[in-house]
Subunit: 425 residues, 2 copies
């Protein structure tokens, strides 16, 4: 490092520390409570489907706040919102953000926290009088949850792979409204939003999110540096038997589809755990039994398998073993979905570690078990994620909670990291 | 036995053998095909809900045929039909019959066979020129299947315990029609039917039915002498866990309701088989999983237990063990239904055996695993059942089938037995 570089480096560190220091806890917590009013449930949770009237109201609130902060707001073909705090140079932006749609009985934090922490970082930079070299974009990705329109993460995946939008536009929600209809309603609601015009890839994307699992709480660490996202395999296993009378059919004469399904499930469970060891996540979440009658032996049982692991080789071995396992009479296997593990950018993980160090915050490096918009952004630009703890690991639930101190600390770490990245050449 | 008794006995045997001999295979098989046209399904099955328009049409066919045979037809408070072939003396009748309603995708034989075989026995007695001492009543019991109105066996249970009708009349079908409405429609359709007026209990009830199970087929015997009906216990077991994210929740931190349910099911299965040995019938037929989502660990699983056994003591021990099994955290047990085993009348079983011997037909003595109207009639008068084989044990299915030879043999045995019983003093 030359003397000039050392000086620059020192100045950057001071800037980043100032940005973090200007995060205002009361303002952040107020914003979280304010956004949660759009679609508030009686039980304290939030129900805000993507591009619903409630979501449009929430977006109006965010856009108005952005304008009040002196930001510009643009949108794109999937109604993602880009709230830009201008830089001093014409360089690709640093991006942060998450999503603002929720599960039907979701909490206040899943997604919204990342968006509102991003806005708080802009407030903090403004309050600290910091102008960064690069623009900072706080992004609101459309329909991450995938509960109104399937699949989830439509906004971020269509941002990264624009051709996907043609397929997405034809998707209907439960009442027959297509995504195309919902995107038109969005345009009508916000006619003055310009279309984003950015030819170069972003410099970086950092997504701050609640963990939605118990690992930080168990480890007693307030910050999680997310090294990547587990790969996943979704399968449906169908076991066939013969429906017969529960009273008249002797046990040896039965071909009970449920008995077979429970055996197959036990086999899959065993080799999943043997293959994946302590990083295994295997879940048999959905069961459909035919005829599902108290006095009839089941003729058909279908159950789903959700297997996740950070190691591509383990996922491949799982594919092989489940195919072997299903190669027996009366068992049929259907692959529903798969995604390879995503490893986040090493340089960005270092930046996040530096931010945590500057705040003297203990960290845990972990893999995300849940999908996030960052899973797709990683194909677009250097990407990483930062987690804060979830009480009891609970998420997708009105009881979702993160301590205020942790929400503030996560936002300070984000501000530190963004300030550093936005001043990178 | 005095000489006169021996002579009477010999005459009775001759009469019974003549009755059996006059059973006309073509007429019986034609009647089965004719009745199956009311509610015929495209797949060869029958869909004839109790007291539906199709059932009224079927009843009209049966009543017209009865009148053509010189029988009287009466009815009662639950629309049971009593087709009487008069006796020469004023004695309580011998009863036979079964039901004419079907499962939604039922076959041609379940219930109908017993009714039509009864009518064929009257034809055979007429053709043989036999007048019996006692009247013979062929009964069509209302709503045995219980698919339109719950519970099943309404007609036979209300016949035996008349007070039940008040509760039954208020029961609605899926479209809101009450049994009271349906009974009115039945009265309107058949205004000239007299109400049955019988003050004494019947002399005997014999129900001929298809086995609906595979035991006769496996044993290679064409006739089953049914010594009784298994007792039954129906329970619902609810296991509680905590819904959590399939990707973010480490295996040791999970409380998966499905994992617990499968463990509890295995325990129940094990002690059910240990208690009941080879007579055990245990079925876990209905499963309900919440939230039943591919990527969420189950928070609640409810499954049903159907346990049947011919021995009251085994059923009582099962009640005790399942209660103990459910006395663990996160498991809740609900008793849904129970019925004690029914033992049929020893003298009638002897008569059935004599009928089979006279026809040189090998028999198997077995317990019925299914419920039948005879289960209730056994509280009213000496009762027994006779089974013919079901191909592959299949029933409640358009594929339900019994070989013609077996249908004819069963009817001959019934004719033999009824002729004997109807001439008993």
């Amino acid at each position: 490092m030359t003397q000039q570089e050392q000086k620059d480096h020192g100045a950057l560190r001071v800037t980043a520390t100032q940005a973090a220091a200007h995060v205002d806890p009361a303002r952040l917590l107020h914003a979280i409570a304010a956004l949660a009013r759009f679609g508030a449930r009686d039980d304290g949770g939030v129900d805000r489907p993507a591009l619903s009237g409630r979501d449009l109201d929430a977006r109006r609130y965010l856009i108005e706040r952005a304008h009040a902060l002196g930001c510009t707001v643009t949108t794109d073909h999937c109604a993602n919102l880009f709230i830009r705090c201008a830089g001093t140079e014409d360089l690709p932006p640093v991006m942060t953000g998450s999503h603002a749609d929720t599960q039907p009985s979701g909490g206040k934090l899943d997604g919204c926290y990342g968006v509102l922490a991003g806005l708080e970082c802009i407030e903090a930079l403004n309050d600290a009088g910091i102008r960064t070299r690069r623009p900072l974009d706080v992004v609101v990705w459309t329909n991450e949850e995938g509960t109104r329109f399937q699949p989830g993460a439509m906004g971020s995946s269509a941002f990264v792979e624009p051709a996907l939008i043609d397929r997405y536009r034809a998707v209907s929600d439960a009442s027959g409204v297509t995504l195309a209809d919902a995107l038109s309603a969005h345009s009508d609601a916000f006619p003055s939003l310009a279309t984003r015009n950015e030819t170069q890839a972003a410099h970086a994307f950092i997504e701050l999110h609640i963990e939605q699992g118990p690992q930080l709480e168990i480890a007693g660490r307030p910050l999680g540096i997310v090294s990547g996202i587990q790969g996943v395999r979704w399968y449906a296993v169908t076991c066939t038997g013969v429906a017969a009378h529960a009273g008249t059919t002797p046990m040896p004469a039965r071909r009970d589809a449920m008995t077979l399904a429970i055996d197959v499930r036990a086999d899959i469970d065993a080799f999943a755990k043997a293959l994946g060891q302590h990083d295994t996540r295997v879940t048999f979440g959905r069961w459909s039994v035919v005829p599902n009658s108290i006095n009839t032996i089941a003729s058909s049982v279908t159950f789903t398998v959700d297997f996740r692991h950070p190691d591509e080789a383990v996922l491949a071995a799982f594919d092989q073993q489940i195919a072997q396992c299903a190669a027996r009479p009366d068992v049929m296997l259907e692959a529903l979905f798969s995604h390879e593990p995503v490893g986040f950018d090493a340089a960005l993980l270092t930046r996040l570690g530096e931010a945590a160090d500057a705040l003297e915050a203990p960290t845990l490096t972990l893999t995300s078990g849940a999908f996030h918009d960052a899973m797709y952004l990683a194909q677009h630009c250097p990407t990483a994620m930062l987690f804060v703890p979830s009480r009891d690991g609970i998420s997708h639930n009105p009881l979702e909670h993160t301590d205020d101190d942790h929400l503030v600390l996560g936002t300070r770490a984000l501000a530190h990291c963004l300030a550093t990245l936005c001043n990178e050449p």
